[in-house]
């Protein structure tokens, strides 16, 4: 049976990769979309299903 790799060794093997502009863009889009959708969902819930509130 193969020995399980150690976490410390795996982390040492990890190479540094700079945060790409496309990653930054995706993170920003995700946060903006999330915030807008949350606002919409809260509004829909309060407006159309007020009995729960």
């Amino acid at each position: 049976m193969a020995e399980q790799p150690k976490l410390s060794e795996e982390l040492k093997k990890m190479e540094w990769e700079p945060l790409l502009p496309v990653e930054k863009k995706l993170i920003s889009y995700s946060l903006i979309l999330g915030t807008v959708l949350l606002g919409i969902l809260v509004w829909v819930s309060y407006t159309f299903f007020p009995t729960g509130h």
Partner: protein
């Protein structure tokens, strides 16, 4: 993962076992309590009186416990065969898991641990109580599991075939769907708000938390994309399954999500032990906020729903001590709904990540993105949860609506009849008094006699008219009451059915707690290199996940209370 290569998956097995118990419990609709032998544990001071069957009193407490064990053993062993597990080892393992878990549950129901109100303390003749409610049994099971898992690992190893917390909790969640269906039928508005909270949880977990955790892991902790993505999924979405799905989506080496998962499991236990007590202290006046918050903040299905159950016990207990008796199930279901909604999107998320990774970040040679992986990664137990929810909802909603609609007519009519009857009684008494008064008058008091006689005559006419009106109202009420009989019977059968199924759900819950403890190896925290992973977890969890989750839960549920019991 391993079982998927062999027999059916634990997800599907949870669906079949949960549905089997649910379908058998539906016998209540045909007037047959097939599960009436299931064991229940009441709060006790004399342990010999702790156990009793649902309704088959002839079995006795221990008899029903033994029968419950035997039946569950048979069902679970058939399941183990479907999983292609080692049957002999499973039988031994399940036996150990069942009896230790049940013993913990019984211990948690000891009056000095569980009783929450002063009248109950008087009833049980005790001077003190930890006021932890009977759900303390769950915490005891967890602690006992943690003890064996960390100090007697040989036991966990010996019974590992039956140490399946995900199977137990998913089976419990399938059964829980029926309770949610009944609650939704009775309080559709509140149930809808709970479901909207679930939708918000999807947005929070996938679009906000994931992005933030990924950013922190990449920018400040210098993790590579291969590590940061599974870590972000493990911390922000759903622990183990999300980390593994993400690892698959971005073609990370299998070792990465496995290492991330082992950390997530340990932190989930820490959250499970801390957050419910935090919620009890600060959110006991906002039970629904607390329930939804548990579903979002605590990772892994088992720990999240378990945290919902403990939070419910603690908050209901604290409110009961203040004289407020809320209906059970709402807090627990708020946690479960939020968690299930998050789970449903894991497959979609893995698919989206695979597309993003392959198109704009890095595409490994020969990599293809298959839409089929959405279904592959779909948590199948959700199908069982939705089925039990829909069946009970569809059966009960018309009945509940009829009760509400006719209740609007029947209630005022009943009140009117009651008021008229009181009026009639008073009038009859007045007539009797007047007649006595008349008998006492002397013959020469002719004027007074005539006036009194007239008064008595008028009163008798009024009484006859009132009696006539009462008879008419009662005639109007009778057919309405007849119409109410069927919906009332349906709702009573649904309550009996979910009540019986919930007895088994409770057993699956407590086995979940014990086995979560068993698999949580805290020695991992001393492993070299874990600090960097743990730091991302701690910063993300305590830095924003629990607070954003709390704020959104607050926006949805502040001021919203579960219905009062009874």
């Amino acid at each position: 993962m391993e079982e998927a290569k062999k027999g059916i998956s634990e997800d599907w097995l949870a669906v079949w076992i949960g549905l089997f118990i649910f379908v058998v419990s539906l016998g209540a609709f045909a007037g047959t309590d097939i599960l009436n032998w299931g064991v229940t544990t009441g709060v006790w001071t004399d342990i010999s009186k702790a156990l009793k069957p649902i309704s088959a009193a002839w079995l006795g407490g221990f008899g029903s416990l033994l029968l419950t064990y035997v039946v569950l053993l048979v069902i679970m062993t058939i399941g183990a065969a479907a999983l292609k597990a080692d049957i002999k080892k499973f039988i031994i393992g399940f036996t150990v898991v069942f009896w230790i878990s049940y013993f913990c549950w019984m211990l948690g129901s000891w009056a000095n641990i569980a009783v929450t109100t002063a009248p109950d303390m008087k009833k049980f003749g005790i001077a003190w109580s930890l006021k932890l409610t009977a759900e303390a049994g769950f915490i005891i099971a967890l602690l006992v599991g943690l003890f064996f898992g960390n100090f007697v690992p040989a036991l966990g190893n010996w019974i590992k075939e039956a140490v399946r917390p995900e199977l137990y909790i998913k089976t419990a969640i399938v059964i829980l769907g029926g309770s949610l269906g009944l609650m939704a039928a009775e309080k559709l508005g509140l149930a809808t708000a709970v479901m909207f909270r679930g939708l918000c949880a999807i947005v929070e977990a996938y679009l906000i938390y994931w992005a933030l955790v990924y950013f922190i892991a990449r920018k400040y902790f210098k993790f590579s994309r291969e590590w940061a993505a599974p870590l972000a999924s493990g911390i922000s979405i759903c622990g183990v399954s999300a980390a593994i799905a993400t690892g698959g989506a971005i073609k990370a080496r299998p070792v990465v999500p496995i290492m991330v998962s082992s950390l997530v499991v340990i932190f989930a236990v820490v959250e499970l032990v801390i957050l419910p007590f935090f919620a009890e202290t600060f959110l006991w006046k906002e039970p629904m906020v607390a329930g939804a918050w548990m579903g979002l903040a605590v990772k892994t299905d088992g720990a999240a729903v378990a945290a919902g159950a403990v939070t419910e016990g603690l908050i209901l207990g604290k409110n009961a001590a203040e004289g407020i008796m809320y209906s059970p199930e709402w807090i627990k279901n708020a946690a479960a709904v939020v968690k299930v909604f998050i789970d449903v999107f894991i497959g979609v998320w893995a698919f989206v990540l695979a597309i993003i990774w392959c198109s704009v970040i890095e595409c490994k040679p020969g990599e293809k993105v298959r839409p089929g992986q959405i279904w592959d990664r779909f948590p199948k137990f959700v199908i069982g949860y939705v089925l039990t929810f829909l069946i009970i909802l569809l059966v009960c909603l018309p009945a509940s609506k009829a009760l509400t609609a006719m209740g609007g007519k029947v209630g005022p009519l009943q009140k009117q009849i009651a008021a008229q009857e009181t009026q009639l009684t008073a009038l009859n008494k007045q007539i009797a008094d007047e007649e006595t008064q008349l008998g006492n008058l002397r013959v020469k008091e002719k004027k007074a006699i005539a006036a009194l006689k007239k008064q008595i005559g008028d009163d008798k006419v009024a009484a006859a008219s009132l009696a006539d009106k009462i008879a008419k109202d009662k005639a109007e009420l009778a057919p309405l009451n007849d119409l109410l009989k069927a919906p009332k019977a349906t709702m009573a059968a649904a309550r009996a059915s979910t009540g019986e199924a919930n007895v088994f759900r409770g057993i699956f819950f407590v086995m979940t707690f014990f086995t979560i403890g068993l698999v949580s190896n805290f020695k991992k925290l001393w492993e070299e290199g874990i600090g960097r992973l743990a730091a991302v977890y701690v910063i993300s969890l305590f830095g924003f996940i629990i607070w954003i989750g709390l704020i959104i839960s607050w926006i949805f549920f502040h001021g919203v209370k579960p219905p009062l019991a009874g």
